[in-house]
């Protein structure tokens, strides 16, 4: 028996209102000591359910209907509670997806790290303290003693995730299950965490079951990869072989949907004079509090942008760098503290209320999350007919006809007109949001992270749609994203933002080939490429 973990024909069902539905379907896989197995799949593919089962955990409304799951030869789903608590943390560790919700907000980091050791070992409290400090150093936290005294909310997202990794490693388990451990984190921090995991593996020889939806990321850490789709393990094999010779159609689709960071948009001749310019925008939010303490928090400073007609400008940077804030100031949702926005040479009022119908119509904004940007209590027809009434005075049957045409433009059937947003998939909702923006017949489209709430395969189709309508309608587009591969594919020019300032602007090719600013180089270095170790 050399396998550390072996899953044998395991099926897991969930009890739903409609009866038992299968989440994991007859999955068989094995992980050897010291091996990193990457499990990839889109949301709802059953990969997290499988990962939790490796710790003998099934949600209250789930059952294992066939097969078993063995850790060091022990059938963990059959273990009684007492034996399970000796398995968890000791033989199998767990790193959660979102450390912000997975850490107890009311308990100091040190207590949370130590409690596993106190439960599972006979160490004295002095020894435990020393061990905790060692662990914190192992996971690369600069001030271990200080961090142990803090509450989780006083740690950064990266530090929180390092803490949960330290917790998983505390009792030196031979296997850890990682459930999307870098999903909520910025790319540069993602890269650091992956590097840390590689180091830990080299040092301790710990085996990992690494669960993610991010295929390119796995190429830099996994020895073998399994692809899950609708509960079925459709394909598994050595990482390199899987990338170079995928056998199953779904795997090929998944690989094809990953934007290639080295492919770029066709070059177009230099553009005409800009349609939209933003000059020296300084943007801040008023702080709540006592009257004398109400100084605004400045989020972006001296931001200048120019957007030519028929051009795509990408605005990139990490979360909190001020990208969205800039777009919101351009469309008027936030009044900038200083600076001005010109559209076709006319000055736009800073306040939304002071802008006229033409100003509002010409700039359309598409939000990040279509779940939130469509009113759940309206039908698609109501959503689409409203801009027609407001901007073009079209109502009644003519409006409905135009709405149907707009749906066709975003590749949806007219039958969707009478549905609610809740009856649509995420991708379909984002199409409706795009159609709503198009019905205003704008000259400038602001796209704020419009892909980040969607699955990879859906993302690819939305990108195609956006590129097509932009070219057909000859609109200018400001495309905000943190995904550099996507940006390289559709942007003509790129502006890089860091901590509220634009640090570098230039044609896409130049930025990717010869970044001049240090920060841009860091961002570019963090890109994961399929089948190549980073």
């Amino acid at each position: 028996m050399t396998q550390l973990l072996s899953v044998e024909g395991l099926s897991i069902d969930y009890l739903t209102a409609a009866g038992w539905s299968r989440a994991v379907s007859e999955v068989t896989l094995e992980i050897a000591p010291g091996e990193v197995f990457g499990l990839v799949g889109e949301s709802g593919s059953g990969k997290s359910t499988l990962g939790l089962a490796a710790l003998g955990y099934l949600p209250a409304n789930a059952r294992a209907s066939t097969g078993r799951i063995l850790v060091e030869g022990q059938d963990v789903l059959a273990l009684p509670r007492r034996a399970l608590s000796r398995l968890r943390g000791v033989r199998v560790g767990f790193v959660p997806q979102n450390p912000t919700t997975a850490l107890n907000p009311a308990m100091r980091a040190g207590v949370q790290l130590a409690e596993g050791l106190r439960r599972h070992t006979n160490l004295s409290s002095a020894e435990i303290t020393l061990r905790c400090l060692d662990l914190m150093r192992d996971v690369g936290i600069a001030d271990p003693a200080g961090a142990l005294r803090r509450f989780p909310h006083q740690l950064s997202g990266g530090q929180q995730q390092r803490l949960t990794i330290a917790m998983a490693l505390a009792c030196r388990p031979p296997l850890i299950v990682l459930d999307e451990p870098t999903t909520g984190l910025d790319v540069t921090i993602q890269r650091q965490i992956i590097a840390l995991l590689r180091d830990l593996r080299a040092e301790h020889g710990v085996a990992m079951l690494y669960i993610t939806h991010d295929l390119p990321l796995l190429s830099s850490i996994a020895d073998r990869i399994g692809v899950m789709h609708q509960g079925v393990l459709v394909e598994s094999g050595a990482a390199r072989a899987l990338f170079s010779h995928p056998r199953m159609a779904y795997t090929r689709e998944l690989i094809a949907a990953v934007p290639d960071p080295d492919a770029s948009a066709p070059k177009r001749p230099a553009a005409a004079p800009p349609i939209l310019t933003a000059t020296d925008l300084t943007i801040g939010y008023a702080r709540r509090g006592l009257p004398w303490a109400r100084s605004p928090v400045v989020v972006a400073r001296d931001v200048s942008l120019a957007l030519a007609p028929d051009e795509t400008l990408a605005l990139i940077g990490e979360s909190g760098s001020g990208k969205s804030t800039t777009a919101r100031a351009i469309c008027g949702l936030i009044s900038p503290l200083a600076g001005e926005v010109l559209l076709e040479g006319r000055l736009l009022a800073p306040r939304l209320r002071a802008r006229d119908g033409t100003d509002l119509r010409d700039i359309q904004y598409i939000f990040q999350n279509p779940d939130a940007s469509l009113n759940p209590r309206q039908t698609v027809a109501q959503v689409l007919e409203r801009p027609l009434a407001v901007f073009h005075g079209i109502t009644g049957p003519e409006a409905r006809h135009r709405a149907a045409t707009a749906l066709a433009e975003v590749e949806l059937e007219p039958a969707y007109l009478d549905r609610n947003p809740a009856q649509l998939s995420g991708g379909q909702r984002q199409r409706v949001a795009i159609a709503r923006a198009l019905l205003a017949e704008p000259k400038v489209l602001l796209c704020d992270e419009v892909l980040s709430a969607l699955d990879v395969s859906v993302q690819a189709r939305i990108i195609d749609l956006l590129v097509r309508v932009r070219v057909e309608r000859r609109m200018a587009m400001l495309f905000i994203s943190h995904d550099l591969a996507v940006v390289r594919r559709l942007a003509d020019r790129v502006a890089v933002m860091q901590a509220g300032r634009i640090v570098e602007t230039g044609p896409t090719e130049t930025i990717f080939a010869q970044p001049t600013h240090q920060y841009t180089r860091t961002l570019l270095a963090a890109i994961q490429r399929l089948g190549k170790a980073a």
Partner: protein
């Protein structure tokens, strides 16, 4: 914003609320349009009686001036003289308030275990028989009007099974034991009435937290069930419970009126009801202001308590 800043902001907001409350009370009692004297005494009252009242209330002076006089007096501890007894309101109010605070204090002590223990028992195995029974009992008590519930307890534990006196009589020469014995039944009534709300809310937040990511992680770390329950679940569930407790204390200030009336308790609530019945305006103004002050203080205490318990609130706002 710093911790101190937060505290100062809350205190400033509470003070502002109290100033507004005092204006509303005074405005309502004295500033309503029409002949105040006729409204208070009834249209059939004699002209001389009305004139005397107008003089007593100084109705000829402008409203703002009268408010400032009254508010100034309140700040110096002078709540005016009552119409009925012609005694200073404070003399009448303070002993009654002391009785009520004792009643409320005992009720609060009983409330804590009465609300936490059933919720813990329920949340451990939701939707089992014990949970359902306790839930049904909670809904039953919640739906029973307070005066009916109090009457039931009185009937059961003082009349049918005479464990406690049916009418609460307090005298200065009373020993501790007799005093507690007299206060117990009304306190228990108040405590149960409050605990039903607390239990329901705590049960829900316990169940919610039991399903949270950090409890799942604690379980996946192989911790013991009792450690998960007492260290990971309860402290986080107590944060909303503390807010509910503040609401409960606020409710108690109103509910005490009913309970005192049912048990014939010589407290602040029954005094206020009598004053309202006799339209004794100085006592009414003072009594309502005291009730509102207690309410605001209870909420302030809960806010500050939440700041102390919940480390997240301390740093960011």
């Amino acid at each position: 914003m710093s911790f101190l800043h937060l505290i100062l902001t809350r205190i400033a907001a509470s003070t502002l609320t109290l100033v507004l409350v005092s204006m509303i009370i005074f405005g309502a009692v004295q500033g309503l349009p029409g002949d105040a004297a006729a409204r208070i005494l009834g249209r059939e009252a004699s002209e001389t009686a009305k004139d005397r009242l107008r003089q007593e209330m100084n109705l000829d002076a402008p409203l703002v001036r009268r408010y400032l006089d009254w508010a100034g007096g309140v700040l110096q501890g002078d709540l005016g003289k009552s119409f009925s007894g012609q005694k200073p309101v404070t003399e009448q109010l303070l002993p009654r308030l002391k009785n009520t605070l004792a009643l409320a204090g005992i009720a609060l002590l009983l409330y804590v275990p009465l609300s936490i223990l059933p919720a813990m028992m329920q949340a451990r195995h939701p939707d089992r028989r014990l949970d359902r029974t306790l839930s049904a009992l909670t809904v039953l008590i919640l739906s029973t009007p307070e005066f009916l519930f109090a009457t039931l307890l009185l009937f059961g534990l003082a009349v049918w099974l005479p464990l406690f006196p049916p009418i609460v009589q307090l005298s200065s020469g009373m020993g501790w034991g007799a005093w507690l014995h007299a206060l117990f039944l009304p306190s228990l009534t108040l405590a149960i009435l409050m605990a039903t709300y607390g239990t329901r809310l705590l049960r829900e937040s316990l169940i919610e937290i039991l399903q949270s990511d950090h409890v799942l992680l604690a379980e996946l770390k192989g911790l013991s069930e009792s450690r998960i329950l007492w260290r990971h679940v309860l402290p986080n569930a107590l944060i909303p419970w503390m807010n509910a407790t503040a609401l409960n204390v606020a409710f108690m200030i109103g509910g005490v009126v009913v309970v005192e009336k049912v048990f014939g308790f010589p407290g602040f609530g029954s005094m206020l009801v009598d004053a309202l019945q006799m339209r004794d305006l100085p006592v009414i103004s003072a009594g309502v202001l005291v009730a509102a002050t207690l309410f605001v203080l209870a909420n302030l205490a809960a806010d500050l308590g939440a700041l102390l318990v919940n480390p997240r609130l301390r740093v960011k706002s």
